[in-house]
Symmetry: C2
Subunit: 205 residues, 2 copies
């Protein structure tokens, strides 16, 4: 559900990749410090040390820069936990979400992306696609639990992963209370109790 | 957790109250159509049909306008459900959140307020205070359930109410999937299962 990286994203590759990396890092900075409305293509080009025409030709708009950043972020995540124990896997996922949202660059970046998506449909779709991909990746541990016979066969795997993240994002976005280990425990416990109670089962209703 | 009103908020009272009402409605419009960065005091004054100096003297900043709007919204909510059955009360609350977030004015207003709070600490605090008050109001049904002996005595009432809203806001903010009745059922079922499993109990850990 989240990327976790050291400082700015580290993006390897050749000349073209280096230009993209510098431009996306400058886009991140603009989002973090000024928000979506503060993304200015000439400023991004200058901060990235590349020509304005390159940024205009290759991206052309703040929307396109943010969509490309989200595409890039989707490839940068740590691999999903799949240890053979659902509680352990869910704990690893929830702890990663908390580390990301508490991170001094990633936290403001995610809140800026969510804020941007409320006023720009293109960003809303790009962000939703980013989270869909994350949910799919993290769902493998739920599928494994089904295959082991640990949880009901008709469990909606994506719904489990979204349920796990929801209280963490909600607290992050609507309170001034910092996320803590206790919040990880609570959402893991709630998710496990809900799976056991077949809340995410798609059977006859 | 949410106000639900017909069109713009209906704000009764005398001359001073009428000015405030018109200014706050204009502030809502600015937030909905242009976002926090688009709140311009002279434009708010003009849209409200009041003098610029009134708006500058009485509010003075976009932050102050939004903080006053949130204070006003906190007094406009429908009363909390407290029927004697916790599931019924939680269902009423979750259904109200969904109606509010799907409402053509209230939905964009809440997303604009959340977006604004990611870039302005004053708005973040005002929004958190708004939600704290809502949570307190809605928590009475959980307190009643404790008093009836229906749920564990050490249940954290506010945590139950926040858990109920979290998946609805998370879906609203990070997906393009519209909220539906099914989402109400699911968060009620998850919350009831979590209460029964003592996820929100504050006992020894």
């Amino acid at each position: 559900m989240a990327v976790m990286v050291g400082e700015a994203l580290s993006r390897p590759g050749g000349r073209t990749a280096a230009v993209r990396s510098a431009v996306l890092t400058a886009t991140e900075d603009a989002l973090i410090y000024r928000g979506f409305a503060g993304i200015d293509l000439p400023e991004v080009a200058e901060a990235a040390g590349v020509g304005k025409t390159t940024v205009y030709r290759r991206w052309g708009s703040p929307q396109a820069l943010v969509a490309d950043l989200l595409t890039d972020m989707a490839t940068q995540s740590v691999s999903a936990s799949d240890t053979g124990d659902l509680r352990t896997d869910l704990h690893a996922n929830a702890a990663l979400v908390v580390r990301t949202l508490r991170h001094r660059r990633q936290g403001p970046l995610f809140s800026a992306l969510i804020a941007a998506s409320t006023h720009d449909d293109g960003t809303k779709h790009a962000l939703a696609t980013f989270y869909d991909r994350r949910v799919d990746e993290w769902s493998t541990c739920v599928t494994s639990a089904i295959n082991r016979g640990d949880i009901p066969r008709d469990t909606d795997c994506g719904a489990v992963i979204r349920h796990l993240s929801a209280p963490l994002y909600y607290q992050f976005l609507t309170t001034t209370c910092p996320l803590a280990d206790r919040d990880v425990e609570r959402t893991v416990n709630s998710t496990m109790a809900s799976v056991a109670a077949e809340v995410f089962s798609s059977g006859p209703r």
